[in-house]
């Protein structure tokens, strides 16, 4: 059951509420939603800022990095005086200043299956959202190992994953939703653990390229939370040279060791859905 928004909140989010796809109930949905952001670097700072501004009510930020000078051209929540401090702490402070509606939890740890389990254990709201499958996970990390760990964890917990990556002039974005777009598979269906990769540290990147990809990640996340349109089943590829996007249709790998194990098989999902 949803209650109506306060007058202040109604005015604050008025331009979003005007959209028929959002409305007052959609805004309530956003305020009650939970998003875990893995990696608070270029993508993570942009996406956290946009989701907080839109009124996503609970943001959990996970990253063990400290702010470095080389981060400043593209990691928009940080400034020179923040150098040397935990990224998640600065991001939390900045987001709270911008929108006090948002409950932000900063967790200065690197994501792996052990550290996220401890995080969940210590955060009752996050734990409840996880177990009710009301948590959306955003992968904004900067390496393939973490990307595969995040994907595995999301598949195991039947959580929706919005994964974005950027390097040089190229961006990639996909939504993994095995409940509503099972045919599209997971991140492991696309790239294996030994995939050839491009990353920002070795290839470089421009701030606006990061911002474009992050904005698409935020848009895809809001669309998912608000249930606007069908679950996305593409790999979106951004070309920063031509300033254009391509949509490539994804399909599940029937031999995927992550999402096609017996516990994640289509039959087992259907059985659970019917219970």
């Amino acid at each position: 059951m949803t209650t109506s928004l306060s007058e202040t909140r109604f005015v604050h989010y008025y331009r979003q509420i005007l959209l028929p796809e959002v409305g007052e109930s959609g805004q309530q949905t956003l305020l009650q939603s939970h998003v875990l952001i893995v990696g608070v670097g270029g993508l993570g700072t942009h996406v956290a800022q946009q989701l907080a501004a839109a009124g996503v009510g609970h943001l959990y930020l996970m990253d063990n990095d400290k702010v470095e000078r080389s981060n400043l051209p593209r990691q928009v929540l940080f400034a020179a005086p923040d150098i040397g401090q935990n990224k998640v702490d600065i991001a939390k402070r900045q987001i709270h200043q911008h929108n006090p509606d948002v409950h932000v939890v900063a967790w200065p740890w690197h994501f792996d299956l052990d550290s996220v389990a401890i995080f969940i254990q210590q955060q009752p709201l996050l734990s409840a959202a996880l177990h009710q499958q009301k948590l959306t996970v955003l992968d904004c990390s900067d390496n393939l190992t973490t990307r595969h760990s995040v994907n595995l964890w999301c598949v195991e917990h039947k959580l929706v994953l919005v994964s974005a990556a950027v390097s040089a002039f190229c961006g990639q974005l996909l939504l993994v939703d095995l409940q509503n777009a099972q045919h599209a598979g997971c991140y492991r269906c696309l790239f294996n653990e030994h995939a050839i990769t491009q990353d920002c540290q070795s290839m470089g990147v421009l701030g606006p390229t990061v911002a474009v990809v992050a904005s698409m990640q935020a848009a895809l996340t809001l669309k998912h939370i608000l249930r606007v349109g069908a679950a996305d089943d593409h790999l979106h590829v951004y070309d920063g040279y031509t300033l254009s996007w391509r949509k490539l249709k994804r399909q599940r790998d029937r031999h995927c060791p992550v999402c096609c194990t017996p516990s994640n098989s289509p039959i087992s999902h259907q059985r659970e859905a019917s219970l």
């Binding site: 050839i196 491009q198 990147v205 790998d253």
Partner: protein
């Protein structure tokens, strides 16, 4: 023989060629063999999972591309 397009370049191959054969054909060095084993293959804007490469029978005018993973954030 049929003509397919690999990274926009025309390539003549026997009519019964599968996607794995194509990648083996264009991988001329050991390094590219290894590289091709770790990318996503896209045929006519659709991703073909690696386990399906031997089962995908190429058609005339197929547009075949390879994508490396982007990992930066």
């Amino acid at each position: 023989m049929i003509t397919v397009y690999f990274n926009s370049q025309p390539l003549s191959v026997p009519a019964d060629t599968n996607l794995r054969d194509i990648l083996a054909l264009v991988a001329t060095t050991q390094q590219s063999h290894e590289a091709f084993a770790n990318v996503a293959a896209v045929v006519n804007e659709c991703i073909v999972p690696k386990s399906q490469w031997p089962h995908y029978q190429c058609q005339a005018s197929d547009n075949i591309e390879l994508f490396a993973a982007v990992a930066g954030g």
